[in-house]
């Protein structure tokens, strides 16, 4: 579904991604794990069009996406839920969610999507009329995830979705990831909560200093010595 | 505290160079035409306004558009008391009254941030202008006032002194821990408050210090117009020009502010004499072009040229 080939992305003069290649098949849950500054967020920024790669190609459902602008990529069916959520602070929870369905096709069906999101995150329904800036850190995260779902994406990318979430909510979130997959969604997960990420995903890529150093089935990576020592604190 | 790295040669070179320039400035008047003296007075005036504006608004990002109010107060102090008190006292009072007013303004605008602060200061400036106008018309029975004449050379030396004091004070503050604190207020006011910086006090006092110089300048420059009224003294242009000059020259360095003020004042003068009908248009165009291509102002020129050369 998504094919990334030898992508190199720079931040100004500094190269953040070195010849990164990865692929995601339909209905897979793939996680991208690694420490701080490894390049995970940069990878997501590159796929979503916020950053443009200096070289390499990316294809989504057979169409080239490298060099395209973010809104085009959203239209093609990729949604990107950023770290910390970044909701629109002076709009209500409901308005934020509605904005997620901005693309013409989904705008018509937004009530339906809204119900669906409210079922997945009942807290958002409770706070529907509140201004986003009055929400706590974890609640904003939830709002951003809900907003991402509103555009009925084929591929959903989450950047640190468990950041600042209470343990109960983390469990709920990862459970809803599974539900999303059952509904036909493909998921790319970037997480520093390495254990949980590996437990829920099918395959994973381990990034260090902008390079893929390990890849494979998540179950196998959980047993990998390097992963255990460098990331799982074992 | 000198936190910026300076090589030894710079430490000796700069003060020597500056002293040299200062000495030339002091000796100059008998050898140049009155026209040059008047022009230099204007340049000194705008440099003081720009540098003092930047003292507060530069690091904290609280863009004040009230400079005209404080400059105008200085002018009015001179117009009202110029014939009753010695010159230096009048100038000191101009500065002092501005300072006190600024303390009041600061206290009343504490909770305002960003755009709200800027518009508040602009509105305030206009309020003062209209208030003075009302008072003059209804209580004093005049519209404008005559200003006592002072010869250009005296103005020159006074302005030079004010300029020197402004530059020295600004430099000292900027390179002290208070300068660093002001920068931190511009970065994250809440964090600054939480590490022990009395943010409110620092904002208000720095703002007031900057207006002292504006008021003093107004008091001496009042003589440039023989007749003043509220619309001349509190002309909003004196609020906008320092901002433009700082951005044009480079808001980060005192040298940039001096350059911006100097160049733009000179430019205005040249354009006015050579193209009396189009000078506003040309002036505006030059401003726009510089800001578009040199976001860091003139002091960013060196960097930009380097970038261009690398591209080629």
């Amino acid at each position: 579904m998504l094919e990334v080939n030898k992508i190199n992305t720079f931040h100004g003069k500094v190269r953040a991604l070195w010849d990164i290649s990865l692929r995601i098949a339909e209905k897979e849950i793939v996680s991208l794990v690694g420490g701080n500054g490894a390049g995970k967020t940069t990878m997501l920024y590159t796929i979503s069009g916020i950053l443009h790669p200096a070289s390499g190609t990316m294809e989504f459902l057979g169409n080239r996406i490298d060099g395209r602008s973010p809104h085009q990529i959203v239209k093609m069916g990729i949604c990107f839920v950023q770290e910390g959520g970044k909701p629109f602070p002076d709009m209500t929870v409901r308005e934020n969610l509605e904005m997620g369905a901005y693309i013409r096709e989904t705008w018509k069906k937004k009530e339906e999507m809204l119900d669906h999101v409210y079922k997945t995150f009942p807290l958002l329904k409770q706070r529907a009329g509140q201004l986003a800036r009055t929400l706590s850190g974890g609640e904003r995260q939830m709002l951003a995830m809900g907003r991402g779902l509103m555009s009925r994406p084929r591929l959903c990318m989450f950047d640190e979705p468990s950041y600042g979430l209470a343990p109960l909510l983390v469990k709920i979130f990862f459970a809803s990831i599974k539900t999303l997959r059952e509904q036909g969604m493909t998921i790319l997960l970037v997480e520093q909560n390495v254990r949980q990420a590996l437990e829920i995903s099918d395959r994973a890529y381990v990034l260090e200093n902008g390079r893929v150093v390990l890849e494979g089935k998540s179950g196998e990576l959980l047993q990998n010595d390097h992963v255990k020592k460098a990331y799982l604190g074992l | 505290m000198n936190l910026m790295k300076r090589t030894i040669s710079k430490k000796i070179l700069y003060p020597v160079l500056l002293s040299f320039i200062f000495i030339i400035m002091v000796m100059m008047p008998p050898y140049v035409s009155p026209y040059t003296i008047i022009l230099l007075n204007s340049i000194f005036m705008y440099i003081v306004l720009t540098v003092s504006w930047t003292l507060f608004s530069g690091p904290t990002h609280y863009l004040s558009l009230a400079s005209a109010a404080f400059f105008g107060i200085g002018i009015y102090v001179s117009a009202i008391l110029g014939d009753k008190l010695p010159l230096l006292v009048v100038i000191g009072l101009g500065g002092l009254i501005s300072f006190l007013l600024a303390l009041l303004v600061g206290l009343s605008s504490l909770r305002l941030r960003g755009m709200y602060f800027t518009i508040f200061t602009f509105g305030l400036s206009e309020l003062i202008r209209h208030s003075v106008q009302w008072w003059e018309v209804n209580r004093t029975g005049t519209v404008g006032r005559w200003v006592i004449a002072v010869d250009h050379t005296t103005v020159y030396y006074v302005m030079l002194a004010i300029l020197l004091i402004t530059l020295v004070v600004t430099y000292i503050i900027k390179h002290s821990k208070y300068g660093l604190a002001l920068l931190s207020i511009g970065e994250s006011e809440e964090a600054a408050d939480h590490i022990g910086i009395n943010v409110n006090a620092m904002k208000i006092i720095t703002f007031a210090i900057s207006t002292f110089f504006m008021g003093a300048t107004g008091a001496i420059m009042a003589t440039r117009w023989t007749y003043i009224d509220p619309s001349i003294a509190f002309n909003p242009l004196f609020s906008f020009m320092p901002v433009l000059m700082a951005i044009f020259g480079g808001i980060g360095h005192i040298f940039g502010q001096i350059l911006g003020a100097g160049v733009l004042t000179l430019l205005a003068d040249i354009l006015l004499t050579k193209f009396p009908y189009y000078y506003m248009l040309l002036y505006g165009m030059i401003l726009v072009i510089v800001v578009l291509f040199l976001p860091k102002g003139l002091t960013g020129l060196k960097e930009e040229v380097k970038k261009w050369l690398k591209v080629d």
């Binding site: 500054g37 950041y163 | 660093l180 604190a181």
Partner: protein, 239 residues
């Protein structure tokens, strides 16, 4: 000695009751944990302690002194420092300058600038950022930014340090390193009050934990008591 006490803390935002009648205390030298679901009021409580927000009613006592109503910079100088959930660094200033400001302004007694510089460099090493003094704060990785924020807070010579989600976004290995840092801070004699969602950290360092839910304190006790508390499992930890 109880270094911090909150009595009858109430905070309303208009009609919204954010904190309702919370009573708590921290003993000097201990590490007190604060947990609770998102939106429970944890950061709000911190904001009330540090002076960012004013109380609707109630009293806060720090080292026996009533500090209710004091401004943040006054509270900081009295010995309470904090970090923020979303890091608030002076981004366009260097790592060293960030810490230096804390050292120069954070105490009641003044400090000579040469001493401040020395202290700042020491703190740089203490938190593990040696060699990064000239880097701009905004160019650091998130984990390092958090360390810098701690260093800056420590520069104000606090007796009580409030940490707001210090571990968020760290890999398990990075969490272990962060726990090490907190223990070092405690060993220096500084009392720590920390908000955390990373239970591993909570369990391994906290002496006691209090639990907030909808602005009320619903549980208090040692870590083992809290993790086996039915209500806490139901509303926060999950099965």
């Amino acid at each position: 000695m109880r270094i911090l006490e909150g009595d009858g803390i109430i905070k309303n935002f208009g009609g919204l009751a954010a904190i309702t009648n919370v009573n708590f205390y921290i003993n000097q030298g201990e590490i007190l944990g604060l947990i609770g679901p998102n939106g429970a009021g944890k950061t709000t409580l911190f904001n009330l302690m540090s002076g960012s927000l004013s109380l609707t009613s109630g009293v806060i006592r720090f080292k026996g002194e009533n500090i209710t109503g004091l401004k943040p910079h006054q509270i900081c100088k009295r010995g309470m420092a904090r970090t923020f959930q979303l890091v608030k660094l002076f981004g366009n200033m260097t790592v060293l300058e960030n810490i230096l400001l804390g050292s120069l302004f954070g105490t009641l007694t003044g400090i000579r600038q040469s001493n401040a510089l020395e202290e700042s460099l020491e703190l740089l090493e203490f938190v593990g950022l040696s060699g990064m003094d000239g880097i701009l704060a905004k160019d650091l990785t998130v984990a390092n930014q958090k360390r810098l924020e701690v260093a800056r807070a420590l520069a104000t010579k606090p007796e009580l340090l409030l940490l707001d989600e210090f571990m968020a976004g760290l890999t398990p290995t990075e969490v272990s390193l962060a726990i090490g840092l907190i223990k070092k801070i405690r060993d220096k004699g500084i009392t720590v009050f920390m908000i955390e969602h990373v239970m591993k950290a909570m369990m391994s360092v906290s002496d006691r934990i209090i639990v907030l839910h909808h602005g009320e304190k619903i549980a208090e006790g040692i870590p083992e008591e809290i993790t086996t508390n039915q209500k806490v499992i139901e509303i926060y930890l999950g099965a």
